[in-house]
Symmetry: D2
Subunit: 369 residues, 4 copies
C-alpha cells in the first residue's frame, strides 16, 4: 500500500476531488477474461449513492460510472481498467461560509498543514466522495471473485449506532437491505431511525460500527509477516474516511479472554477440512485465512461537519466559531457499509492472486502427498 | 507494505525463524550519517528480552544483536543495515509432543494450509521471536529520529490485562519501567501480578491492551489516501503477533460519540501553531498528523500455547487433545510493549522521510507566504 | 516499477487502449504547489502528435489533454493528477483485414498468448498511442522540475536512421526543431528525408537511434543498488514501444575502451565542484549522478506494420500472408523523441524526490562540514 | 525495483560492503517446497569466485554461503531465505594510498557526493563484491525454476573483449566452461588470453560484452507496460556494476534494419505452437515472451581501478594523480558472466510467479476455448 494506491497485485489507485470535474479508480492487475459491464458496477454504486433517504447527504449525484479502458466486448483484457465518475452536483457555493475556517475534527486543517492547499469548495481529496471510486473498484473485484472463487460471499452491515447496539440474537441478514441502516436487526433499525432523526434535527451527528464478513474464503490466503490478511484488512478499513478503529474476530475484546476461552478448538469436517468449534480468530491465524468466515469490524467517528457551533481558527490564524451548513450525513457510518464491503472484496481478491503468484502453485514439498 | 517488508522509504525486512541459526532485519533506506552502534540497539532489545521475570517465557536468549553492514565508523552510510541476532537457546526437544498436533488458536495450522510446511520445532516464522528483529530495527529508527526530529518521543505501556483496566487518573509514566508489566498505574500493576500468577499456575493465559504514544510528531506527516499515517500504523500494529484490534485516538469508542463531543476544538497557540482543546482524533485527521500526540492502542489475544488441554487435530487429520508444555508467556501483551514502540518509531520515521520526498520540500504555493 | 506504473515517488500509471474511448495517465506523488495548466501540457503533446507530416501516421487525433484532478486554481494540490486524452479518430474498420492474422514483429501474438485477448481493432494496449499519456505525464514532470530544479534542461533528438548516422561534428541543437526528424544535423536530415520517402513508397519501414540529454542534473541522484539512476533510465527507455537497446554514455562501445581511455579525469572547477575532462560515463557513476550531462541513447526497431507481405499465422493457427494497410509510421523512432524526453523528465524528477526522502536532507556525518 | 531490492514477487535485497564483516541476500517470495542446500548454492558462487586464474582479482575469498533462514530439512518454507557470505580476506591496508583520492571512473566520488561517506577501505557498497550476493540469490532462483519450469535453461558467455569479437560461426556452448573467459569460441579465447596478458602487464584494463540466453521460457511472461520482461531485464543488467548498455535480441543494431528484415515470420510448429523463422526480437514482443530464446547482451566498461596514473582530486578538493594498486580484475566482464546469468534466473522466475498471480490462472475468456 502506498499513497493513493492499495493492493499488491490487484492495485487500485483512486483519484479525484469532491468538486473537480470527475473522480475515479485506475485498477491495474485485474485478471483477463472477467465478465464486467457498467450496469454491474452501477448496481454497487447505487447502494452507496447519497440522497436516497433523509439519513444521508442530500447532495444528489447520479454517480454514473464509465469504463474507459481495460474492457473489450464485455470482458477484462488484463490491462488497466479506468473507472470514471463525473461530478455533476457540485454546488460549491454552499461552502462559501466555511472557505476560511477549519472544521474541528475535519481534515481540512491537516491538508493545509501538509500541502499548503485550501480547496475551500469542499472536502477536496479528503471528502467521502472518494469512496465512490472504491465502490466501483470493489464491484470489479467482486466480478473477478465470481470468476475465480465463486464461493466467496461478502456482506456488510451496521451493528452499532452511537451507544445503541444491534442484538446478535436478532440478526437476520435478509433484513440488511430492508432498512436505511443496513442493519440486520429490524428492531434496532427502528430505534436507530428515531435516534438519528433527533440528532439530525439538533444539528448533531453520531458514530457507528460496521461489520463486514467474507464467507467461502479459501484457507491459506495471507502473506506473513507484513502482508498478512489481517494487516491488509486493517489498513484497508483504516484508510476509509472517519474510521478510528479496526477489529478482526474478537477484536479489542480479545484482551479480555483467557487462552482457554479464546482457542477455537479444531475437529475434522466431513469434507476432510478442519472444522472449528468457534471463530474468536475471525477466520485468520498468523495472518493466514483458516477457511472460516473472515470477520472485520470498524468504528466510524461522527461526521465533523455539523450545524452546532464549535470553536476554531481560520487560515489566517484568527479564532472564531464555525457552523457547517452544506449537506452532510448525520451518520457517515451508514454509507461506509458498501465501502467496507468493497475494501473486503479488493483485499480478498488481491490475496487470492498474491497466493497464486507467491506459491507459484506449489503447496508443500514438491512431489509430496 | 508487502510480504516480509514494511515501510515506504525506511524499509524493514525481517527474516528468520524461532529455531533456525539466526534471525534479523534488513533495513534499507536509513538516512546516512546517523550515529548508531550495537550497544544502543542492545538497549532496546534487552527491554524485550524473554526470561527476565516469571511473567515471560523462560527461554533465555542473550539476543545479542550484530550490525553486519551499512554502518562505518559509528555512522550509517545510507546503504542497507543488516541486523542479525543468533538463536542460541533453541531447545527444540521441548516441542516433541506437539510436533504432530496443531495448537488451537495458533498459526501452525494455517502455515500448514498455505505452505504445506510443518516446522515442528516451534513457531517457526510465526513465533514471537520474529519481533526481536523489529525491536532492533526500531532502535535504528529511534536513532534516525534523534538526528532528524529530536523532539519526537515514543512511549508504550500496558493499559489493560484481561478484564482489569489501569486507571488513567493514576497514570504516571515514571512508573512504566518500575513494574514487569510496563504499567503506568502502580496499583493496577500489583493487582495484575496476582492475577497473572494465578492464571499461570492454572495453565492458562490472558490477553492485554497496549497503548503507544508518540509526542513531538510534526504536523503534516501522512500520505493520503492509502498511505495515511493511521493506515500505516494500523497495519504495523496488526502485523504484530496475536494482535486482533487497533485503535487510533478514541478508537472503537468513537462510534459512541456525537459530532459535538468528538470535534476537538481549535485555538491558536502562543507558538503560532494550532492548539486543540482535546485529542479524540489521536493526533491524526484525514490520515495526516496534527502536531498533537499520536495515540495508538492494540489488543493482544491470550497466548495460544497453554497447559490446559484443548481438542484439536493432527497433520494426518486425527482428532485428539493437546497440551502445550514448552516455555510460553502467560501474557504476550507484556512483551508486545517494546514491539509496539518499535513499530511506532519505524512508521513515524518512514513518514518523515516520505513527506520530505513526496513534497520535495514544497509546502503550498511556491513563492507563497 | 511494476506493471502499468513506473516511478518510486513520482508514480505514473498509464491506462487506455488505441481504440477505446480514452487513455491517460494517473500521476501520484507530484509535489504540491507546482504551476500547471492544460495549455502547458498540450504544448508537449503537440510535439508528439501524429499526422503532422508525411513521415508520421496519418491518423489525426487532436490529442487534447484534460486535467481531471489534482490541480486547483492553476497549481497542483499534492493529490493524484488525472490526465485524460479522448480517442476521437479511431477508424477501426481499417484493421478489418488483419483482425484474424498476427503481424510478424508485433505484440498482437504475445498479448494473445498471455491474455487470450484479441483486440482486433488495433494495437490495443500495445499501441504507440499509449505514449501520448507518457508525454502528458512528462509535461507535468517538467513543470515540477521547473519549480524544484530549474537548471535541469532535457533535450532529445534522433542520431541515426537505419544505417545513416548524423555527424556529431555538425550537431546544432537549434536545428532539432527545424526538421521533421528532430535531427541536430541539418545535412543528415535532408538525406534521411529522401531515404524515408523511398522506404515509405516501397511499403517498408526502418529503425532509428534516439539520444536524450539532461543537463543541470544535480550530483547525488540515484539510489544504489537496484534503484540506480541508470537502472531506472534503462527500464524507462526499454519500456517504450519498439525499443530494443539502451545505452548510458559510451554504452555498448564502452566494451571497446581500455581503462585508460574510459576513465574521465577529475579536476576542481571554479565553482568548487568537480570538473571532468570527458563524459564517457554519461553523467552516472555507480548509479549516481556526477553533475555532468546525463546521456541516454536507445534503439527503436522498424515499425512492424508494413505494406510488404510477410508469412504469418492466424488465431486459429492457419498459415498465410499478411500485409498491414492501416496508417502507420514508417519510422516510429521519430515520434519516440518526445517520449524519450518525457521518460527522462519523469525519472530525473522521481530521483530528485527520492533523494530528498531517502537522505532525509542529511548529507554525510551530521554536524560534519 | 527499488533501492536495494529487485523483483516483483521473488524479491531479492542484497546488503553488505566489500570490507564489512559479511554481505548477503535477503530473498523474499521464494515458493515453498523448493529443494535447496548450501552445496548447491556454493556451486554457483564458485563459478564467480575471484582468484581462480591470473585474469581475475587475486583477492582470495572462500565465498562460503550460509543459509540462515527460510529452509527446513532441505526445502524452502515460503518464508524469507537469508543467504550470508562472510568477508574473510579484507586486507584493507592495500587501499591506504587511495583513501583520500577519488578514482576516475569509479563510484567513490558519487557516493561521497550523495552520502558524504568515505569508506576508504575499498569499494564499499559499490564494490563488485556485492554481486556475490546476487549469484547466491540466482542459485536459489535456478532451484525454484527447476521445480516450476524445468525446461528453462540459462547460459551466459562473453562475446567480445575490447575490440575483439568472438565469431558466432565458431560458437560451441561446450567450450564456455573450458576457458577462463566463458567464451564459446575457443579460437577467440586464445587470442583474448594474449591480449589481456598484455593489458594487465601494462597496468591497463578493458571492457567486454556478455550475452545471456534463456531457453525454454514459456510464452506469455512479462507484464506490460512498465513491468515488461525486457524492461525488467534491462534494469536487472544495468544494475550490475560497470554495465553501460543493454540489448535485447538485435539490440542497438535493430535501428539499422528495415521492417522487412526485422519481422520474424511466423509458422505453425508441429507441437501446435508458433514457430518463428528468426529471432530478431530476442524472444520478446511487446514486453511479453514469445516462447523463443530470450536473448540479452550487456556491455561492461573497463575496470576503473588501474595501475596507470590518472588525474584526479581528493576529498579536500586538491588535484593530484592516482594509481590504484590493490588487487583488481583487468576485465571485470569475465566475472560478470555468472552475475548476468543470476539476474536472468531471478527475472524469469519472478515473471513466472507474477504471471500466475496476475492472471490468476486465467487465460482468455473464462469458459472460452
Amino acid at each position: 500500500m502506498s499513497l493513493n494506491t492499495f493492493g499488491h497485485l490487484f492495485r487500485v489507485t483512486t483519484w479525484g476531488e469532491s468538486h473537480g470535474p470527475a473522480l475515479g479508480a485506475t485498477v491495474d492487475g485485474c485478471p483477463p477474461g472477467v465478465e464486467i459491464d457498467e450496469a454491474t458496477l452501477q448496481h454497487w454504486l447505487d447502494r452507496r449513492k447519497p440522497g436516497q433517504n433523509k439519513y444521508t447527504t442530500q447532495r444528489r449525484e447520479p454517480d454514473a460510472v464509465r469504463i474507459l479502458s481495460g474492457v473489450f466486448e464485455g470482458r477484462t483484457t488484463g490491462t488497466p481498467v479506468q473507472l470514471m465518475i463525473e461530478n455533476t452536483d457540485q454546488r460549491s457555493k454552499d461552502y462559501g461560509e466555511i472557505a476560511e475556517r477549519f472544521r474541528p475534527g475535519h481534515a481540512d486543517i491537516t491538508y493545509w498543514q501538509k500541502y499548503g492547499i485550501r480547496d475551500y469548495r469542499g472536502g477536496g481529496r479528503s471528502s467521502a466522495r472518494e469512496t465512490a471510486a472504491r465502490v466501483a473498484a470493489g464491484g470489479l473485484a467482486r466480478a473477478a471473485l465470481a470468476a475465480l472463487a465463486p464461493e466467496v460471499k461478502i456482506t456488510g452491515y451496521m451493528v452499532q449506532m452511537g451507544r445503541l447496539k444491534a442484538d446478535r440474537d436478532r440478526f437476520d441478514l435478509a433484513e440488511v437491505a430492508q432498512n436505511p441502516f443496513w442493519c440486520p436487526d429490524a428492531a434496532a433499525a427502528a430505534i436507530w431511525a428515531e435516534h438519528l432523526d433527533e440528532l439530525r434535527k439538533s444539528g448533531n451527528s453520531v458514530g457507528a460500527v460496521v461489520e463486514v464478513v467474507a464467507s467461502g474464503v479459501p484457507a491459506g490466503l495471507g502473506a506473513p509477516i507484513y502482508g498478512k490478511l489481517d494487516t491488509d484488512l486493517a489498513a484497508a478499513m483504516m484508510s476509509i474516511n472517519a474510521v478510528k478503529g479496526v477489529e478482526i474476530g474478537e477484536g479489542m475484546a480479545a484482551a479480555e479472554l483467557t487462552g482457554l476461552e479464546n482457542a477455537d478448538e479444531i475437529f475434522m469436517g466431513n469434507d476432510g477440512k478442519p472444522l472449528f468449534s468457534s471463530n474468536h480468530a475471525g477466520g485468520i491465524l498468523g495472518g493466514i485465512s483458516t477457511g472460516q468466515d473472515v470477520v472485520v469490524r470498524f468504528a466510524v467517528k461522527p461526521t465533523s461537519s455539523i450545524l452546532s457551533p464549535r470553536r476554531t481558527i481560520g487560515v489566517s490564524g484568527v479564532e472564531s466559531e464555525i457552523v457547517t451548513k452544506g449537506r452532510h450525513d448525520p451518520c457517515v457510518g451508514i454509507r461506509a457499509v458498501p465501502v467496507g464491503e468493497a475494501m473486503m472484496a479488493c483485499v480478498i481478491l488481491d490475496h487470492l492472486l498474491l497466493d497464486r503468484g507467491q506459491t507459484g502453485g506449489l503447496r508443500g514439498p514438491i512431489g509430496g502427498t
